[in-house]
Subunit: 148 residues, 2 copies
């Protein structure tokens, strides 16, 4: 995905455009939409928090701002995790996998809630027989997350 200097999402960010030419971004194998899966892991206890997506701009912004930043496919814009809920993911380190097509953000999860449902993480449904059963408790009322 080539960088569009007129992109609204970039226009509203504080990203130094030169960062988009960084060599580390070239090492990532981006898919046909210019995306790679990004997996957030809690650096305190290694727990899987969530899986989302990054493009070049999201990854560059994450590194520049030292927080987890994703590309929202539904909203088609940069998504700074916690920008609405306050549950920011502070970046501890960024990892790349062996074939270069997946990213891991190791983070400090502010507020302890990664999921928009108010749970600690997003993988709260467990396969039981033929059904996915919610097996993790809601810690925070999700409505309260977005009323700040």
């Amino acid at each position: 995905m080539s960088f569009d200097p007129n992109s609204k999402s970039l226009g509203s960010s504080s990203l130094d455009h030169a960062l988009l030419d960084s060599a580390f971004l070239e090492e990532v194998t981006w898919n046909e939409q210019g995306l790679a899966p990004a997996i957030a892991v809690d650096a305190a206890n290694e727990k899987l928090l969530m899986q989302a997506w990054v493009n070049r701009e999201a990854l560059a912004t994450a590194v520049a701002e030292q927080r987890a930043v994703y590309w929202s496919r539904s909203r088609q814009k940069i998504w700074r995790k916690g920008e609405e809920s306050g549950n920011v993911q502070k970046l501890v380190e960024v990892r790349l996998d062996c074939d270069g097509d997946a990213i891991c953000y190791r983070v400090e999860q502010v507020g302890g809630i990664a999921c928009h449902t108010g749970r600690e993480h997003c993988f709260f449904r467990r396969l039981k027989g033929d059904e996915w059963a919610a097996v993790e408790a809601v810690v925070t009322d999700p409505e309260s997350l977005y009323q700040k």
Copy 2:
């Protein structure tokens, strides 16, 4: 992706075809290629092991055989993890995320090596400045992994 009863890959597996109509597969939001990202986590210590992909057949086969099974995009076939190296991932549980478009396999990693490079996991490159530096040791000579 609809199921092709003449699929060669399915023909070579022991999967009961009825499994492909299971309700739990309908709950997954498959992408335009019929795939979803699958993240393997070590159930013993929660560590992120790898990220790969599943389609309906791979996920159904994993559940039927209680081992991590993926869809190899490069080989366009079902990939039973460990079928060549012996480093099977025994399935402890399967999780689905909040928006239903990502899978987590919690596994017992036989042999302790998830990565084809001979490392414990695939996310062994850490961003340092503008470079991805390998920061995890090779535990097993990768050539020996595939000479069995």
